[in-house]
């Protein structure tokens, strides 16, 4: 049973193979074998002819900014039948020059061909990006109020448990007053917040009051120097926003301050 079936399968396969072969185009007759190489012993081999010589292929200058040009110069000597340069330049004279405007760094390859063979040479032009053009002149000041306050207005510092403006702080506040007047005229809709801060030693509740007194005394001083009062606000942070948290006098002094920040 098994054998019978195997034979049937083989038979079908054979028949299919024959049918398939019958469908195939008739294969062309095989090409004739190559003729034997002619034997010419009478003539001596000619002396090989030298390939062309590239005596110059340069780019001048070798480095340009994008949009500028560079000049390729070349000179080919010897037995030359054709000279070409790649990068879409194509065939050229044996001697010549060409201005090129590559947008990216490019290597040019010159190929000189003669009966004696061909010679290549390369020249590279490197291209750098030009600096960005200057922006147009801004119609309004580009620094923010916060930046102006940060650069032009200095914090002032207080003695422990005191809110009066001490001697060194009066000089600073006098300079601050001029700066603030300028800033307020540059930002006609802005107001400035005078923040009062304290060191960590007093009680938190008392320091809320002390910070308020510090902010108020700084504001009063500025108003006396002509800063419009309605554009200065005060807020006390007590000891809730320390600049530093070390328990030493230098940190405490940094925290006993009035600071100026932008109002809403």
């Amino acid at each position: 049973m098994f054998n019978k079936r195997k034979i049937t399968v083989l038979g079908i396969a054979l028949w299919l193979a024959m049918f398939a072969a019958g469908c195939k185009k008739k294969a062309p007759p095989p090409p004739p074998p190559p003729p034997p190489a002619p034997v010419d012993t009478a003539k001596p081999a000619p002396a090989p002819r030298p390939a062309p010589v590239v005596s110059q292929f340069t780019a001048e200058p070798t480095s340009i900014q994008r949009g500028q040009s560079s000049t390729l110069r070349w000179e080919i000597t010897g037995d030359v039948s054709s000279v070409s340069i790649d990068q879409t330049i194509g065939a050229v004279q044996n001697t010549g020059n060409r201005r090129v405007f590559p947008s990216d760094s490019t290597t040019y390859t010159l190929t000189a061909t003669g009966p004696g063979g061909s010679t290549t040479a390369t020249a590279t032009v490197s291209v750098t990006s030009p600096p960005p053009p200057p922006p147009p002149v801004a119609p309004t000041p580009t620094v923010t109020l916060e930046q102006r306050l940060g650069s032009d207005v200095q914090d002032i510092y207080y003695d422990y448990d005191k809110s009066d403006v001490r001697g060194d702080a009066r000089d600073v506040l006098t300079r601050d007053a001029n700066a603030i007047k300028g800033i307020l005229s540059d930002f006609p809709n802005a107001s400035i917040v005078v923040e009062g801060h304290c060191d960590e030693r007093g009680s938190a509740e008392y320091n809320l009051g002390l910070g308020d007194r510090r902010a108020s005394s700084a504001k009063d001083f500025l108003v006396q120097l002509g800063v419009p009062a309605d554009r200065l606000k005060t807020i006390s942070y007590g000891k809730e926003h320390p600049q530093c948290t070390e328990s030493n006098e230098s940190c405490w002094q940094r925290n006993r301050r009035a600071h100026f920040s932008p109002g809403q």
Binding site: R201, E205, L208, E240, S247
Partner: protein
């Protein structure tokens, strides 16, 4: 010179009296506190899973009450009675005929199943708390007993025999433990702090917000979500509202919230760069606070909605932290810089008769009334550098004070518990600022918070 000596002796005498008063108040039995044995209770079935929390709570509450001494567990016998029927009188010791003459008979020993096992050495307890818990109809039931071991037999020893019901979870187990402990402490004249709350400020979310917790530090819950600076919380006498200060709307201003549910009751802030440090009057109908209106800062009083405000103190310096006497309602303690560095003062409700209470040395602040209206707790730097705060108690009439903390970090914001025997305060003794409780004699200091910085506790209902 004689006069000076007399004054010195007199004030030393008052000081001793005050110490004794505080001691007496904490320890009403006059130093001879009864000893109570509290073996771990067990729970049947599902209840056993919550017994760790139950036993910790029961033991902590009874211990921290300061009313009794709790016998150390290591001295307890092995058999722990769970109900009165577990007590079995051991057979009397029969002296064997071979016993030597003069040998005292061993006391009857039931290994824990007889009262003398607890009243005798090594436990030497006067009382035994015992019982068990069980789940019953979906709730947790605690059967609790307290035996007076001096009464001899189980039949008449029961000083407390009560059933407590809570939810079948850890919170329920803590609740019944608090209630059982409250009943035990009450038998000795103590007032349970179960059900009281401590409001405080925490920065654990990255911003200072108002939080509340139980008196043992459990169930810490955030009340405000301003993502700003919210501080100085102070509960109303009935515990239903809190007043606090927040920068949520720009300048520091006062807010009044209901606690449950949390709701803004809209306190009207008078125009000022700072309105702060609010607290309720004892009738709960008004609020006293500090305002920079005009110039910083005077004490004001206003209605609960902020209307009808008027100044109490006249402008002199920075006046803040007003607290009305909870007993009399007719005087205010507050902090002021009117004589130089900040000190604690008192005045009448109309602002008259201002007197300085702290003696002018160092800096003083954070006054908090004892419920009796006679003493205050406060923070003082006396004897230390500026910023080195310690907790003191002062008898207002005599101006005598005692110091409770001793330069372990900064110790600030003392606040009396409603029982008048405990204080909460904040301290940097372990690094960051945390809230602690202690007995009013400075003992039994317990940390209540661990996450972030926690400060300015205010203990209320």
């Amino acid at each position: 010179m004689k006069k000076l000596v007399c004054v010195a002796i007199a004030s030393a005498g008052v000081l001793l009296v005050m110490r004794a008063q505080i001691r007496e108040e904490i320890d009403k039995s006059g130093g001879n506190r009864p000893t109570i044995a509290i073996p771990d209770l067990r729970g049947s079935g599902e209840a056993q899973g919550f017994m760790g929390a139950f036993n910790d709570t029961l033991r902590a509450d009874v211990t921290s009450s300061g009313m009794v001494k709790v016998a150390p567990k290591t001295s307890y016998p092995l058999s722990i009675p769970q109900q009165p029927s577990d007590f079995i009188q051991p057979p009397p010791v029969v002296e064997t005929p071979r016993g030597r003459k003069g040998q005292t008979p061993q006391p009857a020993n039931g290994g824990g199943r007889w009262m003398s096992d607890w009243s005798g050495p090594p436990v030497l307890a006067n009382y035994l708390a015992f019982g068990y818990t069980a789940p019953q109809n979906g709730v947790l039931v605690l059967y609790g007993w307290l035996f007076d071991l001096s009464r001899g037999t189980p039949a008449n020893a029961s000083a407390l025999n009560k059933r407590y019901i809570g939810s079948l979870d850890e919170a329920g187990a803590r609740k019944v433990a608090h209630e059982f402990a409250a009943d035990i402490v009450a038998l000795f004249g103590g007032q349970s702090l179960f059900g009281t709350h401590i409001y405080f400020t925490s920065d654990r979310t990255g911003h200072k917000e108002i939080w509340v917790m139980d008196s043992d530090g459990k169930n810490q819950r955030q009340i405000t979500h301003f993502n700003s600076i919210s501080i100085e919380s102070s509960p109303s006498p009935d515990g239903a509202k809190i007043a606090f200060t927040s920068y949520a709307r720009g300048n520091p201003g006062i807010f009044v919230f209901s606690v449950d549910p949390v709701r803004d009751l809209r306190f009207y802030n008078q125009g000022a760069s700072v309105n702060s440090s609010a607290s309720f009057t004892p009738d709960g109908k008004q609020i006293v606070y500090s305002s920079s209106a005009g110039r910083c800062c005077r004490i004001f009083i206003a209605n609960l909605d902020g209307t009808g405000f008027r100044p109490i103190s006249s402008l002199s310096s920075i006046d803040t932290e007003p607290k009305v006497n909870p007993k009399t309602g007719n005087e205010i303690v507050f902090t002021s810089g009117r004589s130089g560095p900040q000190q604690v003062y008192r005045m009448n409700m109309d602002g008259a008769d201002i007197e300085r209470l702290s003696d002018g040395t160092g800096e003083a602040g954070n006054p908090s009334w004892h419920p009796d209206g006679q003493k205050i707790a406060y923070a003082w730097t006396r004897g230390f550098a500026a910023g080195a705060w310690n907790i003191f108690i002062m008898d207002v009439a005599s101006r005598q004070y005692i110091q409770l903390t001793h330069a372990e970090g900064k110790n600030e914001h003392p606040t009396w518990a409603p029982d008048g025997r405990h204080l909460a305060f904040s301290s940097t003794r372990a690094g960051r600022n945390q809230v602690y409780s202690m007995l009013a004699d400075g003992t039994q200091v317990q940390p209540l918070t661990t996450q972030g910085n926690n400060e300015r506790p205010f203990w209320g209902k």
